[in-house]
Symmetry: C2
Subunit: 556 residues, 2 copies
Amino acid sequence: MPKNCEAARANLESLYRIFTVPEAPGSTLGAIDQAIAADVAGFLQTHIVATERSMEEIEAQFSSPAIPEEPTYVSDYTEFVKKHLVAQSVHTAAPGFVGHMTSAFPYFMLPLARLMTALNQNLVKVETSKAFTPMERQVLAMLHHLVYRRPDAFYPPWIHNSQHALGAFCSGGTIANVTALWVARNRLFAPSGTFRGIAQEGLGRALAHRGVDGIAVLVSERGHYSFGKATDLLGLGRDNLVKIPTDSCNRIDLQQLRAACRRLKEQNILPLALVGIAGTTETGNVDPLEALADLAGELGCHFHVDAAWGGPTLFSDRHRHLLSGIERADSVTIDGHKQLYVPMGAGMVVFKDPTAVSAIEHHANYILRHGSKDLGSHTLEGSRPGMALLVHAGFSIIGRKGYELLIDLGIERARTFAEMIRQHPDFELTSEPELNILTYRYCPADVQQTLATAPPPERTAINTLLDQICQLMQKNQREAGKTFVSRTRLHVAGYGEDITVLRSVLANPLTTDEILSAVLAEQCEIVRQPEIQALLRQVGDICASLGRTKEGDRHS
Amino acid sequence: MPKNCEAARANLESLYRIFTVPEAPGSTLGAIDQAIAADVAGFLQTHIVATERSMEEIEAQFSSPAIPEEPTYVSDYTEFVKKHLVAQSVHTAAPGFVGHMTSAFPYFMLPLARLMTALNQNLVKVETSKAFTPMERQVLAMLHHLVYRRPDAFYPPWIHNSQHALGAFCSGGTIANVTALWVARNRLFAPSGTFRGIAQEGLGRALAHRGVDGIAVLVSERGHYSFGKATDLLGLGRDNLVKIPTDSCNRIDLQQLRAACRRLKEQNILPLALVGIAGTTETGNVDPLEALADLAGELGCHFHVDAAWGGPTLFSDRHRHLLSGIERADSVTIDGHKQLYVPMGAGMVVFKDPTAVSAIEHHANYILRHGSKDLGSHTLEGSRPGMALLVHAGFSIIGRKGYELLIDLGIERARTFAEMIRQHPDFELTSEPELNILTYRYCPADVQQTLATAPPPERTAINTLLDQICQLMQKNQREAGKTFVSRTRLHVAGYGEDITVLRSVLANPLTTDEILSAVLAEQCEIVRQPEIQALLRQVGDICASLGRTKEGDRHS
């Protein structure tokens, strides 16, 4: 013990106190708890997306690399958090925040998330989770059932089977996609004869065993960037992520896909997996899943569907048909924190074949022992929180019909917004909403006319200026903090080069038509800013020069 | 719209309600919130680890694969959760739960975790996180500073640098370890000349480019099972995870490590990384990090330290020296949800070289654009919650000195427990606590004596029976639910074959010496159960037969 015993004892006692649940709501910690809850409720009730403060100013508060020597009072820290963190956060649940895949979530998620945190279960093993393990297994079965619609009698042998799992609960869609391709890779190079499988012998020997020069994943150029990470991580190399161009509806071009498969064969590269997208991140379109399933069958390769965004469309009687063929996928990714309206950190992948995850099975001496029901034997991650509770709660409380309403509402609202954009003379819709995502850009009516017939050099020059306008518009709107859309760069059919577009995701049930009008109105307001006006004058000059040329042509 | 417009509108309205924060504490949802909080507080204040209920009974409540059609009242669902989930969870924070790496955590973590959930920031990009991004960058810098102790002036150019990150925040230690080896692999096979790097060309071409037959990771046989997953995932193959035997203190045997390196060279396999463990999962020992750093330097390979458990020992002036050499590691994993006392889901890896993560850099068109400060450009995961807040809160509120107290307390308590076991005639300490983890087993005093001189066949027979006793003891204690230790199988110096041992982790500051006495007392009680008595009789028979033999020897 240090010399000053009394001080040390005081320290220890205050240490014990912070580990003890406050007994009464009137305790100091109870009061702080309520103050935090009130502060965050206040923040969430504003309709503002973010305050106008530069990143540099914010960073100044988070710049010391030294961990403080001395403890701080919880109350002081709470004041710091309210002022410098909460107030400077992005209100991702704001009804005017229609640029990314975050939404408001049902209020009941909050007390249940708190419960989950308080119980601090670790889902890697039964010994630290008990009832949470069967619950997570049920959630995976429910998702499997949603996707594959197997009869109820299919499930009892598998749902709580210690040897298997119907899928894997993950921290997010990226880990879910990686898990799917990991399973696919290990199944493609399963043990056979003297070859003990890729998991044991590695990719180099696996390729030699099959006598191929590589394995490839094929996905449309709208595929999520996690597939690039996955091919890097799994050792395939990004060269072997074959990105197939899309048709005018942002869906994978099947002819080009077949051509790519032929080229791979010539290069002695084996297709590992075809990936279909059910709700592309940028435009929300759905690949032709039936056709992809057919082709995967022909090729004898894994068929994965990334339905991280669009999966919950399966809840809707009206729109389910858009995902037709998903039930033929070998694996499907669906995110909880997207259209299941669960807080951040809930990705899931399910496998048609309930024995598929054996391909990545692993054990240890102190947990994940053979025969245990530990979920960690079949997950990429180790220790994991009980996020499955929140998906379970959503399924139970909102129900299939509730989710159907949410899905239908989002698609309806996207169509309304698309119509507003189409009606507006100065905006162009650059992708129709198939689900609830659309893209558009600012392009004044007269420029639209000029572009329709402009020769390539001038067209490119105009588009480059419009790209800059789009980028500035998005940046200035974000920084003003009232409403928010995102932006991306896309190849849009009929536009020649890739163009920069604004992107809107309509999943927040609190978003109204009025708010969407306000989004467009604010963008028109931003156009009046001098830097954008200067760019518009340059566009005008090019249009004018083209006008003169045409005039000249006519007169010559 | 469906026919029955009124019903549909009512549905929509109730849907809106569940997305709205309750305004007053007196609202229905507010009341439910309080009821859940009270229930979980009640659960956490019991000192019981788990109720005695079979998994099969629990599973029966989680067996329907169908997502319910109709919504459920939040209050009904809450009742279900209280009865079938909370009551059937494992009280991982109980002071008598000394078997795994979960502990009580400071109370302030709960309101802050709720705040984190409510704000629902997505740390993949600034556009959905704003202040959370600089905060996470600061947390990584603080951890970097804790490990590498670079002068304060080192950090300003890096901490908020859009091109780089000092590390990666992950969902857990497994992803952190995978990230470290992924970076190491991509740096080993960086672009050079016409070779465009492994990230682009894949492992097959990378091996060919270097003219090697494989790459290997070397770690002691006490290494965490995540390294097996990592070598599988990254395409190396589990054959290339070279597990080196340990010395009598569960530390990597350096001579055998050097011998393994020579063998790899003969096999034309390149060492990718040496892994040092700072706190082995099973026994809490620390590898000789200085010597490993020297050898990694000689070999010119990556040196990773898995300090998921033991990293926070760096807070302690008294015990920091145990991790000497960690500052020479190229990468270090530390878990927040272990000895930083943060709820589940906070792994971190830091890299000595602040440009290291460029090796896994990736971009997309709609986020992670070049020049953005988006953290997602350098993480394995995509969307992620703002768990960094809880690490930031721990660092700020507990402070370096507070963590030092916690670390010192745990090591002190482990030594006390070790002494209790040593003093007890019927238990054997099978690994000394270097940090705050120890292993032991039940072995009656007279059997200990017999084993000391027993010939191999009888020794094995006795150990096999003791293994069964150990296994039953652990199982029955877990099922009784009063206290909890875990078990594993270890090679223990001087014991011949691997044996099953009980494992205790002493990190919960609420655990008292009295509770540890009770753990041993309960185990002695369990020994009196008929099934264990039967096994002990068999042990007795073998001992007696050996006694007779000796007697015979003496008389002959």
